[in-house]
Amino acid sequence: MANLKVNVLNMDFKNPILTASGTFGFGEEYVQVYDISILGGICSKGLTIKPKEGNKGTRLWETPMGMMNSIGLQNPGVEKFISEELPKMKKYNTKIIANLGGGTIEDYLEGVKKLNKTDIDILELNISCPNVKSGGMAFGIKSEIAYEVVKEVRKVCSKPLMVKLSPNAENISDMAVTCEKAGADAISLINTLKGMAVDIYKRKPVFENTYAGLSGPAVKPVALRMVHEVCKAVSIPVCGIGGITTGKDVIEFIMAGASLIQIGTANFVKPDICLDIINEITEFMDKEGIKDLNEIRGIV
C-alpha cells in the first residue's frame, strides 16, 4: 500500500493534504460532514490582531470553473482564536496551521507573539491578501517589502514559519528566494489572483472593492507553473495551492516539487472532497507502483 506520509519541517504529516485558509473555517463545520482527522492538516481562517467584520456587499461570485471572493478577512481576532477556536481544533488529531494576516508590521509581530505561546504546529504568514484596502497587498508584491516583514517576524517567531505568497507578486521566484533569505522555513502558494467582474445591469463592479480574489480550477495551470518555478528556486519545502480538485492534480503539484498541498475552493464543490482526493492519490500510487511520494517529488 502506498505511503502518503510526509515529513516536513521536522514534523510527520499523515498525508500532504491540508485545507486552505478561509475555505474550511476552523474545521468545526466540517466535523459533521466527515472525519477530518484523516487530513494532513488544517489552515485556520486568516487571523488579524483585532477582530474584523469583513467586507460589505457581494462577497462571492462564480466565474467559469472558478470563483471570486471578497470576504475581507472577517475573523474573530487572534485572541479569540486562541481562547475559543484553537482548543477545539487541537482535538481534531491533525496538524494545525494558524494563518496570520495583518495591516502593518507591528500587527504581524503582535499576532506572532500571541501565537508563539500556543500549541499551533505552523504559522502561515499571509503577505498576500488582496482584499484589505490598507496594507496586506503591498507586502506580497515587491520582494524588498516582503523581506522586511518576514525578517522581523522571523526574529520573534518561535514556530515553524511558512510564508504564503501572492500570485500577484512582481516576480514569484524572486519573492520566494527573498522570503527564504529572510528566514522563512517554508513557502506556500498561490493565494488568489486579482480579478474583477462587472454587473452590467447595475453598471457597477460586482464587488465593493472593485477587485476580488480568483480561485478554483480555472487558476490551476498558473498555480502549478508558479509552484514549479518556486520549487526550482528555493531549497525550503513548498506547499502547493491553487485550483486543486482531484488526486491527479495533487500528483501534478508533487511532481512539480511541492511537499505539501492545500485544498481550497474544492471544499465548496464537494464538502468531503479531501477524502476523495486522498483516496485518488493512494489509487494512483498503487497503480503506478509508487511506494512513497518522495519517489516522484520534483521529478519534472
Binding site: 473555517g25 481562517k45 467584520e53 470563483m67
Partner: protein
C-alpha cells in the same frame, strides 16, 4: 449532515421555468432548511442552494426556478440519474415560535420553503398569501394545508391584481412568515413592525460552502454579522437591519 449522491425520482416542469425535483433521501429535515445541489457533469462549479419544498417517505422535494446556468443544468438532469445532494442545511423554521393565527406570504419561487412549513402547522390557523408576476403555480397544494389561500398576480390574471402585500392585513395575524423578492419581504417586515406582529423571513445570499465555513453569505444584522447558511436562512424580522 452528509454529502451524497441522490437518485432523481422525478424532475419535471410545472409551468414555464418552474420545476419540481424529487430526490431519494433518508433523514430528518426541518421546514425552512435547504440543500446544496450540483449536477455531476462539471458544467458549473459551486453547488446551488435550494430550499426544501416538501418531504416524503425516503424522498425530498424541491421547487425551483431556472434562473441562470446552474439551475438550467439541474433542470436537464433526468430521472434515475444522480445529483449531488448536501444537506439539510441551515436553521429552518422554529415551529415553537410560530404561534396563534399565522400567515405565510410568498412571492414567486419564494413560496418554496413555505409549503413544507404549512404542512407542519395547524391548517385552521394558517392562511397562505401567494403573489406571482403572471401565472400562479402549486395553488392546489397550498389549499390542501391552508385555512384559506389568497392569490395576487401583477397582471391581475388570477386573484387580486397587484402585489400580494396589498392583499393582507397583517394585524389579523399573530405570526407572519415570508419568503420572496427582497422588496416584498421588506414591505412585509415594515408592516409587521408598524403593527407589532411577529415576523420571520427566509433570506437568500450567494453561497459557496453552505455550512458556515467560508463567510461568503454573511449579512449584517442587529446582532452583527450572521451567516445566512448557518444562523439563517430564517431570521426573526426584528434582527434584520436591511429593512
Amino acid at each position: 449532515m452528509k454529502c451524497s449522491f441522490g437518485r432523481i425520482i422525478e424532475n419535471d416542469k410545472i409551468i414555464n421555468n418552474i420545476y419540481k425535483l424529487e430526490v431519494e433521501f433518508d433523514g430528518k429535515i426541518n421546514p425552512g432548511q435547504f440543500f446544496m445541489l450540483k449536477t455531476l457533469d462539471n458544467s458549473f462549479l459551486l453547488p446551488r442552494p435550494i430550499s426544501v419544498y416538501d418531504v416524503g417517505e425516503n424522498k425530498v422535494v424541491f421547487l425551483y426556478r431556472i434562473e441562470g446556468h446552474g439551475t438550467e443544468m439541474i433542470s436537464k438532469t433526468l430521472s434515475n440519474h444522480e445529483i449531488q445532494l448536501f444537506g439539510p442545511l441551515g436553521n429552518g423554521f422554529n415551529l415553537q415560535e410560530i404561534k396563534g393565527k399565522t400567515a405565510v406570504i410568498g412571492g414567486g419561487i419564494g413560496i418554496a420553503p413555505l409549503f413544507y412549513l404549512i404542512k407542519k402547522l395547524k391548517k385552521e390557523n394558517t392562511d397562505s398569501y401567494l403573489g406571482f408576476k403572471e401565472t400562479p403555480y402549486c395553488l392546489e397544494e397550498f389549499e390542501r394545508y391552508s385555512n384559506k389561500v389568497v392569490v395576487a398576480t401583477e397582471d391581475g390574471s388570477v386573484g387580486d391584481k397587484g402585489y400580494i402585500t396589498n392583499s393582507i392585513n397583517v394585524k389579523d395575524y399573530d405570526t407572519i412568515i415570508t419568503c420572496g423578492p427582497s422588496i416584498m419581504m421588506e414591505k412585509v417586515i415594515q408592516m409587521c413592525r408598524e403593527n407589532d406582529v411577529k415576523v420571520f423571513a427566509s433570506l437568500e445570499s450567494r453561497m459557496a460552502c453552505g455550512i458556515g465555513a467560508c463567510l461568503g453569505c454573511a449579512m449584517k444584522t442587529k446582532k452583527g454579522n450572521q451567516r445566512v447558511c448557518k444562523e439563517g436562512p430564517v431570521f426573526n424580522g426584528e434582527e434584520l437591519m436591511i429593512y
